[in-house]
Symmetry: C2
Subunit: 411 residues, 2 copies
């Protein structure tokens, strides 16, 4: 493992200084190669699927794992999109001249060696490899064992493209030891690895955060709230709550708890109940909500649960301040929304709530690299430092200061 | 400890939303209060000094620990400088409108609860407390035990100012348990603490990095190089090398190893030797350097040592590429300089060398918040993520996205 990582680290200067033209050309080659290798990749995926079915993995997981021609084409088109993104390396982030006449430029540069740990979806292999390559980083990928053959076939295809274009194939590689011990070993190699990005279940994230000596940008849970304020466009509020809960309940930016101002609760709660019930939702409510709805009592545990399912907690609050208090207690700092016509309340909420994304009058579902217009995303960071919220390709860079002198010495 | 940190975390929304006017007014009150309390602070400092002398602490440490009226005035004036810095919270870092018409603003916000672990110099207590307060953060300070009485007196003065101005005094506090166990406990409280900034010796930094579950921005060693290229202004090169090695050898941005192109070695090495010898320097050299200078042979260990003293390694290199190779092997990614008249070589060096600060034709000693024009600094980060290099008040903020909608739902 150490030799493998040492070699990866040794490639940093090479990939960091590739021209945008080279990188984009190779990315287009990769996109084409995925399509040309589709038989190979589908065959590998069939092996994974067979194994998964034998092991009775869930239908949701099988769906995430499954590849067909269309999904391979979409992988290829995603790499083409990444090729078209604005060059992330070498952006001038800031610049000034000091009192002594030194010219300082703050410039975006690659991070170095990035380890990405993820599960099931094989397209993540292609996406993250392409994002790392475009941003001048060396990618070490560790997918789930359920996708082993698919990931291996995809990575082999991409690596071949590197080699055919005169680049070191190890700019993109799968972690050679993909066992739990392999991961444990990877995350403490701060001498060679510059960043670990874990995407997956809570136990993986917790394990990596707790044990890594390499810096971690984690992608874990979202316990999101929508607060319906005293004066609100009721029709829009209904649509937003429905969208945030039901459009795709299994993702981190879906809403889990609805907070409703007491003044509008009598009118809006029965409508929300009916609307979401028709979508197959079930509910838990506090005493205030139970006055209007015949639903089970919500416990503290309910309010602390990321359901990832069509289940909604409902709580009636006295005012905005109470809503914010609940959010600060139970929220995960992911996405929080206020629905209101009141300017002062909107401003107060946006400023006071501590979360990566705070919304007024929109669905929390927009917390997403695609919806933000990033073109492609690494994930949604739940870190507070380095990258917060939707993480695009620019967040795969750090910066350095270039200082241009004419012989200056310090006085 | 948990109750203490929980209380600190509960103050986050309050300090995050203070107006710049309030913060700056209170900072000016603090500056004046330090001057008004000078007798008290000097008395406390005398106790620390007496204890330090009894325990035979080094002269350098005694000097760092010592306070007099002038040093207290300088502490006060540093707080006034911080009050005058541009408001770090609420800066619009980016902003755009998405395809769906959502208006997104990326806004700087405080990080939250920041734990700062540092040694000896009592002015760090005042500086970092003021920087955290101005940037809307809750500060938990853990100074060295040798400065216990001084730090306590300074913190008490600042806390009284908070209270007298209607703010919670616990916005600034000393870690109640300042033992090793106290630190061990602090750095795993990721539920309440958002950032740990360790400044100090290598063993402290290593311990914190290895054991913390809270994100860490570390401030450790600098193993800096100057490379003298083939075509160079010899006189300026001599001045820069002397400045980088001798002006203040005990700091992280001083140079430790000089790399000299073989073409200029015969001419420049004897001059450098004489110039620095007169300043009290001693030397180690590789075989190439020893051809011109009668100095001991530099081992691998020499090249890997941050001397923090008037000792310089000298190595003669074949060319720029060799110099960069040496820097990538031994450098700590802090500050690296090339001295050259050659445009292409300057550009190549600046782009290729992976360090927080890369210089052409200037002393590495400029890597410093003050020299960069930041007004006041938290320190010099040796992290690659979040903050890299001189860390000013803006690096005590993170960001959030504010998203302004008109009823948008995700399609």
């Amino acid at each position: 493992m150490e030799a493998f990582l040492k070699h990866a680290a040794s490639l940093k200067p090479k990939v960091a200084t590739l021209t945008p033209e080279t990188k984009n050309r190779v990315l287009h080659v990769m996109a084409q190669a995925l399509i040309d290798s589709k038989d190979l990749i589908l065959k590998a995926n069939a092996k994974d699927m067979q194994y998964a079915k034998q092991n009775a993995l869930s239908a949701a997981l099988l769906d995430r794992l499954f590849l067909d021609e269309k999904r391979i084409e979409s992988m290829a088109s995603s790499i083409q999109t990444i090729a078209k993104l604005k060059e992330p390396v070498g952006r001038v982030l800031d610049g000034w001249v000091t009192d002594e006449g030194l010219r300082i430029e703050k410039i975006s540069v690659p991070i170095g060696v990035i380890g990405i740990i993820y599960e099931s979806r094989p397209n993540v292999t292609a996406d993250t490899a392409a994002l790392c390559f475009k941003s001048g980083n060396v990618a070490i990928l560790k997918g789930g064992k359920e996708a082993f053959y698919s990931n291996s076939a995809i990575a082999a295809t991409l690596r071949e493209c590197l080699e055919k274009n005169g680049l070191d194939k190890d700019l993109i590689s799968l972690l050679p030891d993909s066992s739990r011990e392999g991961v444990a070993n990877l995350i403490v190699q701060d001498k060679y690895v510059d960043l670990i990005v874990p995407r997956g279940g809570e136990s993986l994230i917790h394990y990596v955060s707790k044990n890594a000596t390499v810096p971690v940008v984690k992608h874990d849970k979202g316990l999101c709230h929508i607060y319906i304020d005293e004066i609100v466009d009721e029709q829009k509020a209904l649509e937003i709550v429905k969208n945030a809960k039901c459009q795709r309940p299994g993702v981190c930016n879906a809403v889990e708890t609805l907070l409703v101002h007491q003044a509008v609760a009598p009118s809006i709660l029965p409508k929300i109940y009916k609307l979401l019930k028709d979508e197959g939702c079930s509910f838990y409510g506090d005493e205030g909500a139970k006055k209007f709805l015949d639903i089970p009592l919500a416990t503290k545990e309910n309010f602390a649960t990321e359901y990832l399912d069509k289940i909604l907690n409902i709580k009636v609050v006295k005012d905005l301040e109470n809503a914010i208090e609940h959010i600060q207690t139970y929220g995960s700092g992911h996405s929080e929304a206020i629905l209101t016509k009141n300017y002062a309340n909107a401003e107060y909420f946006l400023n006071k709530v501590d979360a990566s994304c705070v919304y007024v009058n929109a669905s929390t579902r927009f917390t997403d690299g695609g919806a933000f217009g990033f073109g492609a995303e690494v994930g949604i960071s739940t870190n507070k430092l380095h990258a917060r919220g939707p993480m695009g390709i620019n967040e795969l860079t750090t910066y350095k200061y270039k200082i241009y002198g004419q012989g200056q010495i310090r006085g």
